[in-house]
Symmetry: C2
Subunit: 148 residues, 2 copies
DNA sequence: CGGTATCCGTTCTGATACTG
DNA sequence: CAGTATCAGAACGGATACCG
């Protein structure tokens, strides 16, 4: 999703500008819109998983890596750094050898967890409907293609 | 995010496989996991916006395009096709000239709207905290860099 | 109007190698 | 252990041109 090189904090507030007549207007695409930017981060695949796994427990880097199956070391590092920067995760380095680095949700991160869980729950609850819809759509497409 | 060329429906169910001892296990990264795949789609930037704008109203292609500022014609088409395939959006073609194509949320899509809105609301509610966290993190980084 | 097809630069991501 | 650095391939996404 969005890059991470922007450090433009031009319009920190609600992106009100050219008014439109819908309640979705606060979070559309305008340049410098904070909400959209944060949403991109928060709706990110790996971020979602990391936050979910950190619920109510502190985990080490390698523990997280094992739990989030399929994530590369690089992506886990990048994701955790972003979450740390956003104040959603705390990173604690214990000055021992070998190094021990622990990650925890901040209170802010904890509040996000519930919301994320709702999205995950929705997905679980409706996965069969979606799979069915896809199968149906695909077979219709196949039928159309067969007419050629 | 995820590509759209996979039509593998190998494990349509809950991704239970190599068991792990956490409640997040149902939606991790294993190959063929439906939940993760759907989540990627649903958490997509443009999908979110499209669904949000379609709440309680039918919109034409061009209307959607105007409302979702910054989306290209191609991305809108791609997004709407995905949502249609997933059974979240209905596409109705009126056989008139010039063509008139209308999009509506399906009942399934409507149930997703509430969840998405919760995520958006969270983002709006906490955007200042996040902006502050970022600023704080960045200045700390700058301080560190200054020591070189 | 509502697309589709194509080209192409940008971003993302995984693999690999190396380090304190 | 917990990274960082680098590189290459894949995916994303915009611009453009064309069509029913």
């Amino acid at each position: 999703m969005g890059g991470m090189e922007e450090r433009t904090l031009k319009s920190p507030s609600h992106c009100t500008g050219t008014e439109q007549d819908y309640d979705v207007r606060q979070w559309d695409t305008r340049e410098g819109c904070e909400v959209r930017q944060i949403l991109d981060r928060v709706a990110d695949k790996w971020s979602l998983l990391a936050i979910a796994h950190l619920e109510r427990q502190t985990l080490r880097f390698s523990e997280l890596r094992r739990r989030i199956e399929g994530i590369s070391q690089r992506m886990l590092t990048v994701t955790l750094r972003q979450l740390e920067r956003d104040g959603l995760v705390t990173r604690t380095v214990h000055p021992v050898v070998p190094p021990r680095v622990e990650y925890t949700l901040t209170p802010l991160g904890a509040t996000l967890h519930a919301t994320i869980q709702a999205l995950v729950d929705w997905t679980e609850d409706h996965q069969e409907e979606i799979a069915a819809a896809r199968a149906s759509y695909d077979s219709r497409q196949d039928d159309l293609a067969a007419l050629s």
